[in-house]
Amino acid sequence: MNELLEITTTRNNPHVDPSMGMWEWQIPVYLFLGGMVAGMMIIAGYFLFTGRHKEKNCSCFFIPIVSFVLLSLGMFALFLDLAHKLYVWRLYTTIQFSSPMSWGAWILILVYPALIANILIKPAKWMTNRIPILTEYSKKINEHPFLVKNIGIANMILGMMLGAYTGVLLSTLGSRPLWNTSLLWVLFLVSGLSAAAAFVHLFAKNKYESELLAKADNGFLVIELFVFVMIFLGLLSSARPHIEAAHLLLSGAYAPVFWVFVIGIGIIVPLIIQLLAVNHKVSHTAIAPILVIVGGLILRFVIVSAGQFSHWFNAHLH
């Protein structure tokens, strides 16, 4: 006869029982958009830092506008998630040093001015038509190459902070063993960079940049695979709840979607296609970048959902 372990509870709180499901689609969508915008800020910042804004069709001109829109959409998703919406301003009456969500709220406030400064370097025509004074601001900024460089640095640093904090936010919630790995921020940052490189590669008009980003994306995808290996090594050599959490993705309920969509379609397949493309064996198509972007989105859904499902238990009874 087998060992018996049966636990019944009379608690049935909505979204808590039978397993935690408090955070729904809004959080992974925000984590994805925030991560991709973070990656795009780093890319645009790098282009500004290296003086590529002198090129007429540099991607660093459309990136901040797209980032502005995508980040705002992501923040709107976050807002939709809040259960006490009218009190959202409470985030900005305090800084809670122990709460990564509080850091995030303030990082987001700093991200917007950096994006706007980047936009002002060369505002789009539809902007200058409506607000002619923008042309003057742009002129003044361009008179000081040092300033442009610093706007690039600010975008890179704030992009890193934005990309990293989303992972730190989850990994500090120690009650969810799957998130409780200090490499989660690296995974989210690299995944954000990879999705951003794919996105900019899709829309870049400058051939050099497009090619560079395809190569960079291959690098990010390989690093992402390594980070996954490290995360699983860490979890599998931790306490029993962490081992079970790792198995949720490796062989458990989330394994099919993890292996097929996150690893297979999100990393391996686009990596192979893009490796062939950068080596001029096949021509560049939209397929690989789209797979990378979709894979990044599914990654956030899997991590948020499986993470909530993972939990502590009395290991000596299991």
């Binding site: 018996l4 509870t9 709460s99 306490a239 939990h311 238990f313």
Partner: protein, 179 residues
């Protein structure tokens, strides 16, 4: 400074749910939600099987992940007794504290804020016992100051074997179960 805690005798608890009902009426808990609940755990190998009935709620931990993750300071430790509370009008309903609790003791109230057991601090400050403790028909629940070596709860912990829930989670819970 007192440190409030509970000592619950699992050998006396029959799982009658009086504590659950008392909490719901005292604290006006909406239908379908619970600040406290009954867990029945059976383990072992036939015929050597053990069963434990526990009344559970927020553990008012000494290490509080639910407080440290709160972005607004709504989730906080009360001045008296180390009771973990939520200031409703400071809570934005971000749910981080719900995710942070290894005991899943929190929920989002239909009015939008995070909610949980308060150890009936409004009663305790008047010198009364928490509602759940006051109604228990088997007297299996004890509430008091864990820092006072002469309190009823401290004496029970000195004289009986006990366990806490999920000690490995590292939250130093302040609800103890006598076995």
């Amino acid at each position: 400074m007192p440190r409030y805690g509970m000592v619950i005798d699992t050998r006396k608890c029959v799982g009658c749910q009086d504590c659950v009902i008392a909490c719901k009426t005292e604290n006006n808990i909406p239908e379908g939600y619970n600040r406290d609940w009954i867990v029945t755990e059976s383990h072992g190998k036939f015929p050597d099987i053990q069963m434990e009935i526990r009344t559970e709620r927020c553990n008012h931990c000494s290490e509080t992940p639910c407080v440290s993750c709160c972005p607004t300071g709504a989730s906080h430790i009360h001045d008296v007794g180390g009771v973990v509370l939520v200031t409703h009008e400071m809570c934005i309903g971000c749910k981080a504290c719900v995710e942070a609790c290894p005991y899943d003791a929190r929920y989002i109230h239909p009015d939008g804020y995070a909610d949980k057991c308060t150890f009936c601090v409004h009663r305790v400050e008047k010198g009364e016992k928490p509602a759940c403790v006051s109604v228990c028909p088997t007297y299996c629940m004890h509430f008091g100051d864990l820092d006072d070596p002469n309190s009823e709860v401290s004496k029970l912990l000195q004289s009986r074997k006990w366990h806490v829930n999920l000690p490995d989670a590292g939250t130093k819970p302040n609800i103890f179960y006598l076995v």
